[in-house]
């Protein structure tokens, strides 16, 4: 990479490949120019649409691929391999006597009140039992000493058999207490490399060197499961890009919201499981910075689901490491706190046998889609409700090749909801909308309030095709003061990729009581972790002045079982260092649990190091000052006013015609190709100089103005 050479003045491309659309954004630091491109995805081979899209985008931007300094990619390939369950055939090598840890897990079942239930780890094992092999050898805790030698012959025999039979395509290695001493795992990996160098190997000390054997083993097996497929895809994509002239390294968005090089991503594909949805969260942080908003929550609503992310103080929030499940499997890797719920434009409204009115999680998807698409769907969906309320007009989706038939939306809601519940079709549609809003609200609440964050201090940033139709209602329920709809909100995730720093995170379990911590050891571990985190940044071309190293500690009171992460200083040798960590932890505990125990001893469980290579985020392009709101239409639409559902004259405007500083009062519907923004009565919208729509309660705006 040539970051230094060009003085950080870069031409960048962000590419977000989803199931339906491939979104691309080009940004040139020198000319401050942004170019957007959207094209159909090619699910049989996602790289194809990727390459073609990049070339098309370059043509549109008038740049050659050789000029591009950085291509950043958010991918759902690893996630889809997992959800579609077509990953590698994995072999597992572990300690003798423990091969079923993957099957037993934490021995709990997902549902309390059910006798027959699917337990993913048992019904869809990442590694079939016949390919789980235990070999003798044992490390002791807490000393980390070897108390039984590794049975190398058994390892050799196993690997040879797998290689010769040709059934296994990836190997996971996970030994007890490898987080304390990885020597046995290293030895096993060396044997595999010697005997079968081509096979994909994933070792627990390398993937997730943290204690708790089941979670570590599951993560390691998951990495092996998605490994060959993901790395094949990445290598192919990367190679095709360089064949077309791209000279730098392809970079990937991780679940943790940082970007890593293709080699790291290929080695740890388990870190890519949220690679797709993270982009919108990062974009939201960027939109927050541009609009001088400290705390943001992002709402990315697509066809079948909504992703909700929380970023207090401009910082992406991470999920607690033991809550990180994907597709029913446990993956103990850092992930942004993004919650996905089954509420999108295609979610179906229904009445259950007990008479309760429900929306989702079933979705009509893109096919047959909502009833109003006239493609065979007869179930009423959220989109149908938006049509009945008059917010989505018949030609709203014309550029996506869809004509909306409002009659069909009315008929579906009438038949399935309004008549059985004795409501008018408008009341029923408003109800569907409100229930969808409600599930988004609950998700935001669980991800904010439940974690000690007050949504009233946050702005809600809308992304995805449908996010801008829901954002104001969600914000209202939670008393959030402001909604932001960035320009090109419909392709926000791709833009988010450009606003990301390169980040490499390394962790180690230390298990040190802070009252008697071995500070020289902590220093040594920190130094080692920092060195391994920084190395790839140097390789990527970052100079030391643009690398920031930050340290964190996962702590708990001695006797507790769950850690809270706190940032810590790098002065590990300081006599006050331990007290500083303890104080930070007491504070975090107070915030998370409403009490702290300053007299209780604190355990330092894990140390984390993140090396960040800073990349300047592109600014949003300022809007041209011309225009005004020349061409608006009035049409009736239904809104809830003072608790009553009323039909009110509503202004419909095209977003492209809005000049900066334009101020309008709801009800207004702002239409653009990739999304529709709904501003209800009582709210005002102001167009920010950089193109963001800022929506606030009217009296608030009046007050500020």
């Amino acid at each position: 990479m040539c970051l230094q050479r060009r003085g950080y003045c870069l031409k960048r491309i962000g590419i977000d490949i989803g199931g339906t659309f491939t979104d691309l954004v080009f940004w040139d630091d020198a000319s401050q120019r942004r170019v957007i491109h959207k094209r159909a995805s090619t699910p049989d081979d996602p790289a194809r649409a990727g390459i073609e899209g990049v070339l098309e985008l370059c043509a549109k931007a008038g740049a050659s691929l050789a000029e591009i300094d950085l291509i950043l990619h958010g991918t759902t390939v690893a996630t889809n391999i997992l959800l579609e369950r077509n990953g590698a055939k994995v072999g597992l090598i572990t300690n003798a006597g423990f091969r079923d840890i993957l099957h037993i897990g934490r021995k709990n079942r997902p549902c309390n009140f059910a006798h027959n239930q699917v337990v993913t780890r048992q019904h869809y094992p990442l590694v079939a039992r016949q390919y789980r092999v235990g070999v003798a050898g044992r490390i002791e805790a807490p000393s980390g000493k070897e108390i039984e030698a590794l049975d190398v012959a058994a390892v050799e025999q196993t690997v040879q058999a797998w290689r010769d039979r040709g059934e296994i395509t990836a190997i996971a290695v996970c030994c007890l207490h490898a987080y304390l001493n990885p020597v046995h795992e290293q030895h096993i990996v060396a044997e595999i490399n010697r005997l079968w160098p081509e096979v994909f190997v994933s070792a627990s000390h390398d993937i997730v060197p943290l204690y708790r054997e089941y979670e570590r083993m599951s993560t390691t097996a998951l990495n092996a499961y998605v490994g060959p497929g993901t790395s094949r895809y990445l290598q192919r994509f990367s190679k095709a890009l360089s064949t077309e002239g791209y000279a730098a390294e392809l970079c990937l968005m991780t679940s943790a919201g940082g970007v890593v090089g293709v080699d790291e991503a290929s080695r740890r594909p388990v870190s890519l499981l949220l690679s797709g949805p993270v982009g919108a969260l990062i974009a939201g942080v960027q939109a927050g910075i541009e609009t001088k908003t400290d705390h943001v929550i992002t709402l990315d609503v697509g066809g079948t689901s909504a992703d909700i992310g929380v970023a207090p103080a401009g910082q992406v929030r991470m999920r607690a490491l033991l809550d990180t499940q994907i597709g029913g499997y446990d993956a103990m890797v850092p992930m942004c706190d993004i919650d996905t719920i089954g509420a999108g434009g295609g979610s179906i409204a229904w009445i259950d046998e007990g008479g309760a009115f429900r929306v989702g999680p079933q979705s009509a998807g893109a096919d047959p889609g909502p009833a109003c698409y006239n493609r065979g769907g007869s179930q009423p969906t959220v989109t149908d409700a938006l049509v009945v309320l008059g917010w989505y007009r018949a030609d709203a989706l014309r550029n996506s090749g869809l004509d909306i038939d409002p009659e069909l939306a009315v008929a579906a809601i009438e038949q399935h909801i309004a008549t059985p519940l004795g409501l008018t079709v408008y009341q029923a549609a408003a109800g569907i909308y409100q229930l969808a809003v409600h599930s988004m609200v609950e998700s935001v609440r669980v991800n904010s309030v439940a974690r000690g964050l007050d949504p009233r201090e946050f702005a809600l940033v809308a992304y995805g095709g449908a996010g801008a139709a829901f954002a104001v209602a969600v914000a209202q329920e939670l008393s959030m003061p402001k909604v932001i709809v960035p320009p090109a909100a419909g392709v926000g995730a791709a833009g988010g990729l450009l606003a990301t720093d390169m980040k490499y995170t390394r962790q180690a379990t230390l298990w040190q009581p802070l009252s008697s911590a071995d500070q020289p050891r902590i220093q040594a571990v920190a130094d080692e972790l920092a060195a391994t985190a920084v190395a790839p940044l140097h390789k990527d071309g970052f100079g030391s002045e643009d690398i920031v190293i930050s340290y964190s500690a996962d702590c708990r009171y001695v006797g507790q079982g769950y850690e809270l992460q706190v940032p810590v200083s790098a002065n590990f040798g300081d006599p006050d260092w331990c007290q500083g960590v303890a104080d930070a932890f007491h504070g975090a505990h107070q915030r998370a649990h409403h009490r702290a125990f300053p007299d209780s001893p604190v355990m330092l469980v894990n140390l984390g190091v993140t090396a960040t290579g800073r990349i300047r985020a592109p600014a949003s392009a300022p809007l041209s000052a011309s225009g005004g709101c020349s061409d608006s239409q009035q049409q009736p639409a239904r809104f809830r006013v003072a608790g009553q559902l009323d039909c009110v004259a509503t202004q419909f405007v095209a977003r492209g015609q809005l000049a900066p500083g334009t101020r309008m009062t709801g009800p207004v519907v702002i239409e653009q190709d990739d999304t529709t923004t709904v501003v209800p009565p009582g709210y005002s919208v102001v167009v920010h100089p950089l193109g963001h729509l800022q929506i606030e309660l009217q009296e608030r705006v009046a007050h500020v103005a």
Partner: protein, 627 residues
């Protein structure tokens, strides 16, 4: 194949029940149901009803999350042996967390226990602690914390939670079965106020903590429980402020009625009748070895009500092996019926677990019996017996609900407590570690039984081996599925786990459980019975002693090993009808041998052991099982 004496159709009305039927108790609570409501019932529109309902459910979830994240002892934080929820002033459960069912279902009984002494005297800021097993506690180690909720100065309900304390000052560390009465099972706390508006009541805390072996862990756990309830209180008050108490309570009422309506519809769909399960047997009471205990189970379906009649079950026993009726038996019966009729994985998904689900379910257990003991009998070790109740109910209803029931389950709980004197200079004098071992499910129509997983009323987590080894002088040498084959059936039974501990220091252990040695899990419709478990003490000198399922303060020396072989579930349907491909998979996975495949399932593999020999299998199966 039918079970013995399944349907006795001549008696269909409550006269079919014992005289005790008059005292039939439902887990539905109403302390003074005749008391006037303290809110105006208002019409809540369907949308607000769902919104408020969702808000209420989220509170319980958040409370539980809070509790296990903050808790100290591994039994609470790793195993998550806890429950949390909100209750109204009458003690009707409004919502509960989805943690261990045993805990949540018992909250209403705790409220009854506390309310009987403090009714009408609650003050804002009060915190009550309760564990009296004869006044609603599930058993004495399950502490219940209750915080009254006030809205606009009026007492409107409670936030409550329960959690298993690692030690409560019993005769032996943790617990043990062989005790004379419930006083020997630990300090009894009968609805004691431990905090008021000024904070902790110091003397009470001192008394509490100076009578347990692990005061540091207990203090941390109790603080976590209080924080959990305070959070529930705050959330409920905020909800009431936002929507108004009348709306919230009316929505809660509507949610209870909704759950009740669904439950009643399901019960009514069953043919009225009296359904008896075969008599079941427990190994012993933990002291009088070789004297099995009887469990009689009759299920009476009458309209939209269902009665679980345990009359005929054993007299109460003289050890701690009895079951508190209100706090343990009632929630269990309710669990059994809800899981069967309103399964969370079926169309009962999303149906709130609240008082409404309890209303149509009634339980009869004569006073002085195993399931309804009288003071001062001990009743700490009750899980193994009560976990047989759902299993028995399924046996009773198998012919009318063949596709919903499972074949016989492990239906026990093998619970161990390990303890030793602590070597740490500061901190507690003892270390105590509780291990709730897993069970296994019986097979059901269309699916094999779940292997090595918590069974029925239990749904806890294991403590990571790496955690135990970091904190206790024990080393795990094996934690795997049993080497024995699973119980054959068209769908095979779930396989139990096996565990081997090596002890590096002297320690004492107690346990409760039932190896199912005299009455293994019952196969259904031609499926084979499940397998008994075993507990072995391998001494450092090479001798092996077979231990009973219930040991009381048994000593282990350094270098000794404890081997657990847990119970496996039963099969469902004729094994000769099992899909040969599934038999082949079990063979490849090392669960059965080729001989097992041929003998038990009539499946023959090719001579080179490369797959199923379909022709030979067809022939073999047609000719019958005889070789």
């Amino acid at each position: 194949m039918l079970l013995d004496g399944t349907l006795n159709s001549e008696v269909l009305n409550p006269q079919a029940l014992n005289p005790e039927a008059l005292h039939a108790l439902s887990a539905s609570t109403a302390i003074g149901a005749d008391v006037e409501r303290y809110w105006q019932t208002v019409d809540v529109d369907p949308v607000s009803r769902q919104v408020i309902g969702g808000g209420i459910a989220a509170i319980a979830h958040e409370m539980a999350e809070h509790l296990f994240r903050m808790a100290y002892s591994s039994i609470m934080r790793e195993s998550r042996d806890i429950g949390a929820g909100l209750l109204d002033r009458f003690g009707r459960q409004i919502c509960e967390s989805d943690s261990t069912p045993m805990h949540c279902g018992s909250l209403p009984a705790y409220v009854r226990g506390i309310d009987r002494l403090h009714h009408g005297r609650y003050q804002e800021g009060d915190v009550y602690l309760h564990n009296h097993p004869y006044h609603g506690a599930s058993h004495s180690p399950d502490y219940g914390v209750l915080v009254p909720i006030f809205v606009a100065g009026m007492h409107v309900g409670f936030a409550g939670c329960t959690g298993h304390m690692v030690d409560i000052g019993a005769a032996n560390p943790g617990f043990s079965v062989d005790v004379p009465d419930y006083f020997a099972e630990g300090q009894v706390i009968d609805a004691v106020k431990i905090c008021d508006r000024n904070g902790r009541i110091a003397g009470v805390w001192s008394l509490l903590m100076s009578n347990v072996r692990t005061p540091e862990a207990n203090t941390g756990d109790l603080e976590a429980m209080i924080a959990c309830c305070e959070l529930g209180r705050e959330r409920f008050v905020a909800l009431a402020q936002k929507y108004g108490l009348d709306q919230v309570m009316s929505a809660a009422d509507a949610a209870m009625d909704y759950s009740e309506r669904l439950m009643r519809a399901r019960i009514a769909a069953l043919p009225d009748g009296v359904y008896d399960a075969p008599t079941a047997w427990l190994e012993d009471d933990g002291k009088h070895w070789g004297q099995p205990l009887r469990i009689a189970t009759r299920v009476v379906v009458s309209g939209s009500d269902i009665y679980i009649d345990l009359t005929g079950s054993n007299e109460q026993v003289s050890t701690g092996f009895n079951c508190p009726f209100e706090g343990s038996v009632l929630p269990t019966a309710n669990f059994a019926i809800r899981s069967l009729l309103l399964s969370e994985t079926g169309d009962g998904r999303g149906v709130p677990q609240n008082d409404g689900v309890f209303r149509p379910v009634h339980v009869i257990a004569p006073l002085g019996s195993l399931f309804n003991p009288t003071p001062p009998r001990g009743c700490e070790a009750r899980f193994t017996q009560i976990n047989r109740i759902p299993d028995q109910i399924m046996q009773a209803l198998a012919t009318v609900m063949p596709e919903q029931v499972t074949a016989g389950n492990s239906a026990n709980v093998c619970c161990f407590v390990y303890a030793g004197e602590s070597s740490e200079a500061d901190g507690d004098d003892y270390w105590v570690s509780v291990e709730v071992n897993e069970g296994a499910y019986g097979a059901s129509y269309g699916s094999d039984g779940l292997d090595a997983i918590d069974n029925l009323m239990a749904n806890t987590r294991n403590t990571p081996i790496e955690e135990v080894e970091l904190t206790a002088p024990m080393r795990c040498e094996c934690y795997e599925l049993l080497a024995d084959p699973p119980a054959p059936g068209r769908w095979r039974g779930g396989l139990g786990a096996t565990r081997m501990w090596l002890f590096n220091a002297p320690l004492q252990a107690s346990s409760t459980g039932d190896n199912r040695s005299i009455d293994p899990p019952r196969g259904l419709f031609g499926g084979c019975h499940g397998r008994a478990g075993a507990i072995l003490h391998h001494r450092a000198n090479g001798e092996t002693e077979t231990l009973p399922a219930k040991i009381s303060n048994h000593r282990f020396a350094p270098g000794d090993r404890l081997e657990l072989k847990l119970v496996s579930g039963a099969g469902y349907g004729d094994p000769k009808q099992r899909d040969p491909a599934a038999v082949w998979r079990d063979y490849c996975d090392g669960l059965i041998s080729a001989q097992d495949a041929q003998r038990d399932y009539g499946v023959v593999f090719t001579a080179d052991q490369q797959g199923v020999d379909w022709e030979a299998t067809t022939q073999w199966r047609q000719q019958g099982s005889k070789p």
